[in-house]
């Protein structure tokens, strides 16, 4: 008897959506149909046309070009956020999980305290200290994300350090750092991968939220959240202004959710 394998639709659709959006961002690095910041009084609130497939905004800027630019910035901030969160989360989780003891107790209590705040709230506090702008948002969100990654990594290290393969590595003469980062760390990747994906989604939403509130990415940089915020006033007169950035955010989050779902299905 053969068991027929159902195609992994989550993975397929997730990869396609994510691929399209990443492609959009990558293309914006070298080409946008118009300069995203070029104002053109003649085209104020221009409707959807062949020349402006998503129309123009209140300054006559091409919305499609700005969506491309905004997608790039939003992805960039999300990527940076996740990178900061994962790298420091791994370091913190690895050391506390592997060594345990008093250091673990102290760091994890601090971790819990930070974790108790919603990460966006924490990021707001940090941004108010550092000032706004895309790099500060990245750092603020990154710091806010560290505790959740640290927890996951710590739990994996706690579990793995008791396994015989770690004892075997010690018998071979491997030092602690080598055991932590060469022997144990790769075994946490499958668990880490799905939380990185979820973290990425949260970062996209957090960046959009902060930029929407005006404390995230600053003009002249475009970001999807900023565009939504700017479009508020014209929601009824020019709905396309808010619609397209919103759509990209939704597709981005949907794509990543499906992809992470698909990956966890695959590894079962």
């Amino acid at each position: 008897m053969t068991i027929k394998k159902k195609p992994n639709y989550n993975f397929i659709i997730g990869s396609i959506l994510t691929g399209l959006i990443v492609a959009l961002a990558l293309v914006s690095l070298v080409y946008t149909p118009y300069d995203p910041d070029a104002m053109d009084a003649a085209n104020k609130f221009a409707g959807i046309s062949l020349k402006h497939p998503m129309g123009c905004d209140n300054f006559g800027r091409d919305i499609f070009s700005r969506v491309m630019e905004g997608t790039k910035n939003t992805l960039f901030v999300a990527l940076g956020t996740v990178a900061i969160g994962t790298v420091f989360g791994i370091l913190l989780g690895a050391f506390t999980g592997y060594f345990g003891g008093i250091l673990d107790e102290i760091l994890m209590r601090i971790n819990d305290a930070i974790f108790a705040f919603p990460s966006i709230l924490l990021a707001l506090v940090i941004v108010s200290l550092l000032g706004s702008g895309k790099y500060n948002v990245m750092i603020a969100l990154g710091i806010a994300f560290i505790p959740s990654f640290a927890r996951i990594v710590r739990a994996e290290f706690l579990k793995n350090r008791e396994l015989d393969y770690v004892k075997s590595a010690r018998l071979m003469g491997a030092g602690s750092l080598r055991i932590m980062f060469v022997h144990i760390l790769p075994n946490t990747f499958s668990v880490l991968a799905s939380s990185v994906m979820i973290g990425f989604n949260n970062a996209v939403l957090a960046e959009a939220g902060m930029s929407f509130l005006g404390i995230g990415v600053q003009p002249p940089d475009a970001s999807l959240g900023r565009m939504l915020s700017e479009a508020q006033t014209y929601l009824f007169s020019t709905p396309s202004y808010a619609f397209f950035p919103g759509l990209v955010i939704i597709l981005m989050v949907l794509g990543f959710s499906l992809l992470s779902e698909g990956i966890s299905q695959k590894s079962v």
């Binding site: 004892k167 491997a174 075994n187």
Partner: protein, 241 residues
């Protein structure tokens, strides 16, 4: 007179689980092991055999007593070949790891030694690029043996290396260990709960009951004239099967 490779004096070990009271596992363990011998360690499941040898290699934190090890880089074949091989590493990588850590080998030298060791334990070359999950239990057990022998240890601790295997493969692994012992001059501390396996493999035997060593001596003598009731019981259990 042969040299003593391992001397254990009044060893006690404890486990403490959260919220429970301390569990005294090994109780006043005292024995010696000589260079070049195969010493059997027999006892029922849960009597503390694994705990004892883990304590000898420093893997049990809560212990008291004296352990004198006269062997460089003692190695161990773990009881469970499923958790003792790192699931994210290929066999070839694992076999080279002890040499990588020791240092002073080129990549070619390491690979050559790893392939030689695979051959020695009777495994095919293509295993080199496999992950542990792709191997059968018997193959994993051989990989564990190969891994333990990469550093050419003087003392090998084998924790029930054949218990999980079927009878023909058991015999193969036992022959392999005996052959390697001759070739490399190993001393082996061999754990088993199977008295017949111990009879075939070992020179001397320690009988363990509930954390204590209740009897020790030459295998033939212990089997012919068991002094302790527990040993008699174990032997009767075998002969009546």
């Amino acid at each position: 007179m042969s040299d003593v490779i391992l001397e254990v004096n009044q060893l006690n070990t404890y486990y403490k689980e959260r919220g429970e009271k301390k569990k005294h596992v090994c109780k006043n363990i005292t024995f010696q092991m000589e260079q070049g011998e195969i010493l059997g360690l027999v006892g029922e499941s849960g009597s503390g055999k694994t705990t004892l040898v883990k304590a000898l290699l420093g893997m049990v934190k809560d212990k008291e007593g004296a352990i004198k090890l006269n062997a460089k880089m003692p190695q161990m074949i773990f009881q469970d070949p499923y958790s003792s091989l790192n699931p994210s590493k290929k066999i070839g990588w694992l076999l080279q790891e002890p040499l990588r850590i020791k240092g002073g080998f080129t990549k070619e030298e390491r690979e050559k030694k790893a392939y030689e060791m695979l051959k020695k334990v009777g495994l095919n070359d293509n295993i080199f690029n496999h992950y542990p999950r792709q191997l059968s239990g018997g193959q994993r057990q051989r990989v564990s043996i190969a891994l333990a022998l990469m550093l050419e240890p003087e003392l090998l601790i084998a924790d029930e290396p054949v218990s999980a295997l079927d009878v023909t493969i058991q015999a193969q692994i036992m022959d392999l260990l005996l052959k390697l012992k001759e070739e490399m001059g190993l001393s082996i501390l061999f754990i088993s709960h199977d008295l017949r396996v111990v009879y075939k493999m070992c020179d001397r035997v320690l009988i363990m009951e509930d954390g204590e060593i209740v009897e020790q001596g030459k295998v033939e003598e212990v089997y012919k004239n068991p002094a302790h009731p527990y040993t008699k019981m174990l032997l009767e259990a075998v002969t009546t099967v």
